[in-house]
Symmetry: C2
Subunit: 245 residues, 2 copies
């Protein structure tokens, strides 16, 4: 059930069978959500950590006047912040984009696990640091890249993240994001996203239709995006640390 998370964590460190069993054991209370449903709302009290098993979701904020910014996308195997339950209330919302299946890991369960399984703990911290790095890269994306570069960068990032958990098929992956959502994630309008996608298709950078993304030439897309994958810290970063607990 948790193979996506496990597969992702193994990009950082090797996990023992016991580690994996412990992680599997997390999937007790599975929650199902329909597209568009709020998983958690601004102002809610976070009681547990959400672990996404299936489906896509977005983390977003809405300004008083309606302007909306998507701050991150969740895909299978993703985890919202490790210790959210420390905070009194959510400063943003998370909504399902597709049907979503997730586990709500209670505070005590997570803390207990981190007490007893240092290797998992370290891998989860890696996950947390990578998420922070992704958030920083989005800052760069919004602050210093052009419309085409922003979209290309987002496609690169998501394609590589999905590939890392085995959710790509050759150079194709699911991509259930509307142009309005792309706009809200890249700081553009949906009209301009549409025009930029047209340009990208004409340049042969992407094939995007029917909720599917195909990247005919990843190197070209990376170049167009000024994409440097170092911030994803894949490639078994943990190799420099002891393999023992």
């Amino acid at each position: 059930m948790l193979h996506h998370l496990i597969r992702k964590l193994e990009h950082f460190t090797r996990l023992s069978d016991d580690d994996k069993a412990v992680l599997q054991g997390l999937s007790r209370t599975v929650r199902l959500l329909e597209p568009g449903a709020d998983i958690i709302r601004e102002g809610d009290s976070p009681e547990h950590v959400n672990l996404f098993l299936d489906g896509w979701a977005s983390r977003y904020k809405q300004l008083e006047d309606g302007r909306r910014q998507i701050m991150s996308f969740f895909v299978p195997g993703d985890l919202c912040d490790l210790h959210v339950f420390i905070l009194r209330e959510m400063d943003h919302a998370i909504a399902a984009i597709t049907p979503v299946r997730l586990v709500q890991v209670p505070r005590e369960v997570l803390l207990g696990l981190m007490d007893r399984h240092p290797r998992i703990t370290r891998a989860l911290w890696w996950e947390t640091l990578v998420n922070a790095a992704i958030q920083r890269e989005w800052t760069v994306n919004l602050g210093r890249r052009t419309a085409l570069e922003r979209l290309a960068h987002l496609f690169c990032e998501l394609f590589i993240r999905l590939r890392a958990i085995g959710l790509t098929d050759g150079n194709t992956c699911a991509f259930p994001i509307t142009q309005l959502e792309l706009a809200d994630a890249t700081g553009l309008t949906s009209v301009h996203v549409n025009r930029t996608l047209k340009e990208m298709r004409a340049a042969g950078l992407i094939i995007l239709k029917g909720r599917q993304l195909t990247v005919p030439d990843l190197a070209a897309l990376r170049k167009a995006a000024l994409f440097n994958p170092n911030y994803l810290h894949l490639e078994r970063d943990g190799a420099h640390l002891s393999a023992n607990a």
Copy 2:
């Protein structure tokens, strides 16, 4: 020596005298840096956690073609990510803006401290979560706010962060940031920052000169920025948690 960090953490939870003494004990190897000096560079191996005692610094990334984005500002009492040393190499750089005094907390020292002092640990996690929230808010800032709103928001955030650690004097605080740096933080050009500052001064929103910022009417500035301070999670959030270890 560490009063800024301690004062900040106390916005989240009450610390015992022992807790404070332990934190004070961190300031062993103090490092001094000149303005403009790199504290850590992209590609470097992070060996410890940096704790800023004095001075301002910026976390930034530079694209191949020279475009630069500042992703965050460090002020006294700030801490770079708790577990950076888990990663193999830095995906960004940190540079001193003013003369900087910082402590490099070695990995073992930090882990040991977290083992033995759960209340401090929880406070440090709060710090980490707040930093993540700030990074997300910057995403919103760059993605969905106008030039004036972005600058106003940045001024609000920094003023409130500084006030939280006692580094404001009435409605005035130090502000050693050049217009070029403001531009790199807000995704604008320095020319446009200059024009926007002029507009803000004319509107009576700020007084900015001689590396000093005065906010004559914080409510007005907040309004102009669409600033909602909830993401800073001040106001003793930890009150809902047990005061015992």
